[in-house]
């Protein structure tokens, strides 16, 4: 297996930090980019195409296909925020978010959706963003779809996904195929642990290598502690080397001076950096309205083997339950079929001792559906707020209120009905007081009575959005429609924290498309040159 990162390093990529050598004391560049995920990668390719001198700073390590051994025990501490143990303040929501070169794109499950029309309409109407229309964004989506090989997935879905289609069809609910950003995918199913065959067109193997080949510099295992702000300008960044667990590796900091700074550390981390830096926030919006697509899970047992670990994850979906009510009505949800690996399943299914043994004895025959709740479109769905712990690390406070949890109950019902329609022997809503139910009638009655409360209901998230909302007027957002901060002239934000609401679909393509639009404009402003992504 050819490892493009190993080859790039051998070609002389300028990488420092961790095992790649000490961070320099000072650096000067045209543009400093914080992060290396979806927004940062696209931005780096476009800015280097314009001939700009770019430095990227990543808190996590540089890992690549030779390290990706399909092992959860290796992947979670190395590639995920807080060792995949990131949680909201009251511990009621577990958050999976990448922290490595490539960010979440290195570990995501490849699901690619354009920003839904209804979401864009809401942004135009409520956040004064007339430019956020399907037609205006289409060329940007086309460009990144071509760049990242985002195409229909033509291989047969694995059994775990096929059951979603089967159960939904028997209820007259349409399910459709999910596009994926892969090239020559082996259909292994281990996307969440880093792609071992470099088929996934993550930032790690696409935009970042191009930027590094053009001379961009990359600092890894390096955390941006502060933006150095003077008046209405950002003068530079203060960076600290960190160990793999995020603890400081030394007190010797690096100072980066830059004409322009792009923050793309991902939602939660980006607003936290601005909070640590005491960035102006005249309207008290910074870190607010952070959304998660809170996820609830329903596990079903079948007579036959499902082997949910095998084959591409999340290849089918249904938006039926997003469309039954208006977008600003009762909270809707998208249904998908996730990959099932032992560690994540054992951590997600409820119970211990005999209950846990019995559930996991059927691991190979387990099918699971998840429901992503579309948060942020209703007054009673304000999302969460990013705060800082005493050590400066971010903590998201996201209270799960009755409005959101009402959606969780309806989602448990929808998933159980689909699973029984597909032939499930038993269905278990992932809740501490639920039992495996043997029929739809029994499940319907029981789910109606379950106390759907935080810490009793298992809630997860793999999509973190918002906290530095983009808006067409200063009192509605942190960032202007061109991605620049409303109060800090040479600071841009190019990541999922820009979204004024959740997306209502897996967000990677929304980040790519928006970052392509913003970075192309920024490249022109800083260099006078018109650029586009490699074809």
């Amino acid at each position: 297996m050819i490892d493009p990162i190993e080859q790039g390093l051998a070609r002389g990529w300028k990488v420092r930090g961790g095992p790649h050598g000490e961070l320099p004391e000072t650096l000067t560049c045209d543009v400093a980019i914080v992060g290396t995920g979806a927004g940062a990668g696209i931005t780096a390719e476009l800015l280097t195409a314009a001939g700009l001198d770019v430095v990227l700073v990543e808190e996590g390590p540089l890992r690549s296909s030779r390290d990706f051994r399909q092992s959860e025990a290796e992947a979670y501490p190395a590639l995920y925020q807080e060792s995949a143990s990131r949680k909201t303040a009251d511990k009621a929501i577990g958050i999976l978010q990448g922290r490595c070169v490539g960010g979440s794109t290195t570990v995501n499950w490849t699901s690619s959706f354009r920003t839904p029309s209804a979401t864009l309409a809401f942004w135009r109407e409520r956040f004064a963003l007339p430019e956020m229309s399907d037609d205006a964004l289409a060329p940007w989506f086309q460009q990144v779809e071509q760049r990242l090989n985002i195409d229909p997935w033509l291989v047969a879905p694995n059994a775990n996904n096929q059951l979603l289609r089967l159960g939904a069809a028997r209820l007259g609910i349409p399910a459709a195929a999910i596009q994926r950003n892969v090239k020559g995918c082996w259909n292994l199913g281990s996307c969440g642990m880093g792609c071992p065959t470099n088929a996934k067109q993550s930032m790690l193997v696409t935009t970042l290598p191009v930027a590094l080949d053009r001379g961009a510099r990359l600092l890894v295992q390096a955390r941006v502690e502060q933006l150095v702000i003077e008046g209405s300008a950002v003068r530079g960044l203060t960076v600290l080397p960190v160990q793999l667990n995020g603890a400081p590796a030394s007190t010797r900091s690096t100072r980066i001076s830059a004409r322009h700074v792009v923050v793309a550390g991902g939602a939660i981390n980006t607003p936290a950096l601005l909070l640590r830096s005491k960035a102006p926030d005249p309207h008290g919006l910074l870190g607010r309205r952070t959304f998660l697509h809170p996820v609830v899970v329903s596990a079903a047992t079948f007579d036959e083997r499902i082997e949910g670990w095998s084959g591409a994850p999340q290849t089918l979906y249904t938006d039926h339950f997003l469309e039954v009510a208006p977008i600003d009505g009762a909270i809707g949800y998208k249904l998908e079929a996730p990959p099932l690996y032992p560690l994540i399943v054992a951590s997600t299914l409820p119970g211990f001792g005999a209950q846990q043994s019995a559930l996991l004895a059927d691991f190979a025959k387990t099918h699971a559906l998840l429901a992503l709740l579309r948060d942020g479109f209703h007054a009673q769905s304000p999302g969460g707020s990013v705060k800082l712990r005493s050590d400066g690390s971010p903590l998201l406070d996201y209270p799960l209120n009755a409005f959101v949890l009402d959606g969780a109950r309806r989602a448990f019902l929808s998933m159980a009905e689909i699973q029984f329609a597909a032939g499930a022997k038993q269905v278990l809503p992932v809740h501490e007081m639920a039992a495996p139910y043997r029929s739809w009638a029994e499940a319907r009655a029981a789910i109606g009575q379950l106390p759907i409360q935080p810490l009793l209901t298992r809630v997860l998230s793999a999509h973190v959005m918002g906290g530095c909302a983009m808006a067409g007027s200063e009192d509605l957002g942190v960032v202007r429609p061109d991605g620049r901060h409303w109060q800090l002239d040479n600071l841009s934000i190019h990541d999922g924290s820009l979204f004024p609401t959740s997306i209502g679909a897996n967000p990677q393509l929304s980040v790519y498309g928006l970052a392509a639009k913003l970075a192309t404009l920024l490249a022109r402003q800083l260099s006078g040159r018109d650029v586009r992504l490699a074809a």
Partner: protein, 171 residues
């Protein structure tokens, strides 16, 4: 307010020491030099016996070896956590390794290494369904740390029918 009281370093210890009528001098550290102490290993061994009941080997010698390896993996898990989470888990280990605070937090009367598995399971179930968010958080922390360390080991996979990753050779 109590429903959403958070597991925060310091405040929890102070509150529990107060309710247990005990002082700081009594505390038995749960973590030393980045590893769980002998006292904390007794806590997590008892929790493992309860959470992994039905999965741990039954015979004495293989069971002891499996628990030892499990506790070593817990040290590895702990080392991977960021400092803020290490502080929380360390505080939890300290409170559970210290008799008066163990009793105040969990209601478990017997010392960990003397408590029957069924008693530890009863205690876990009480925490799990407690009306106090704090006790529910403790339940999830204990269960999740235990499962994370146990299922990280390929040795645990045959027991749940997982064959391990597919081989990736040269295409």
């Amino acid at each position: 307010m109590q429903r959403r009281r958070l597991l925060q370093v310091g405040t929890l210890t102070a509150a529990l020491l107060g309710s247990a009528g005990a002082g700081l001098a009594l505390l038995r550290p749960g973590v030393r030099d980045g590893r769980f102490t002998a006292e904390a290993r007794l806590v997590f061994a008892a929790v493992a016996a309860a959470v992994l009941d039905g999965m741990l080997p039954r015979d004495t010698a293989p069971r002891a070896a499996a628990l030892r390896a499990h506790l070593d993996r817990m040290d590895t898990t702990f080392a991977g956590l960021p400092p803020a989470l290490q502080a929380e888990v360390g505080e939890l280990a300290t409170l559970l390794a210290t008799a008066p605070t163990r009793l105040a937090l969990t209601g478990l009367g017997a010392a960990w290494h003397e408590a029957p598995v069924a008693d530890v399971q009863t205690m876990l179930q009480r925490l799990r369904l407690s009306s106090l968010a704090l006790r529910q958080q403790v339940y999830h922390a204990l269960r999740d740390l235990t499962n994370a360390a146990w299922f990280a080991d390929p040795g645990a996979w045959p027991g749940i029918g997982y064959p391990g990753p597919l081989k990736v050779g040269t295409p």
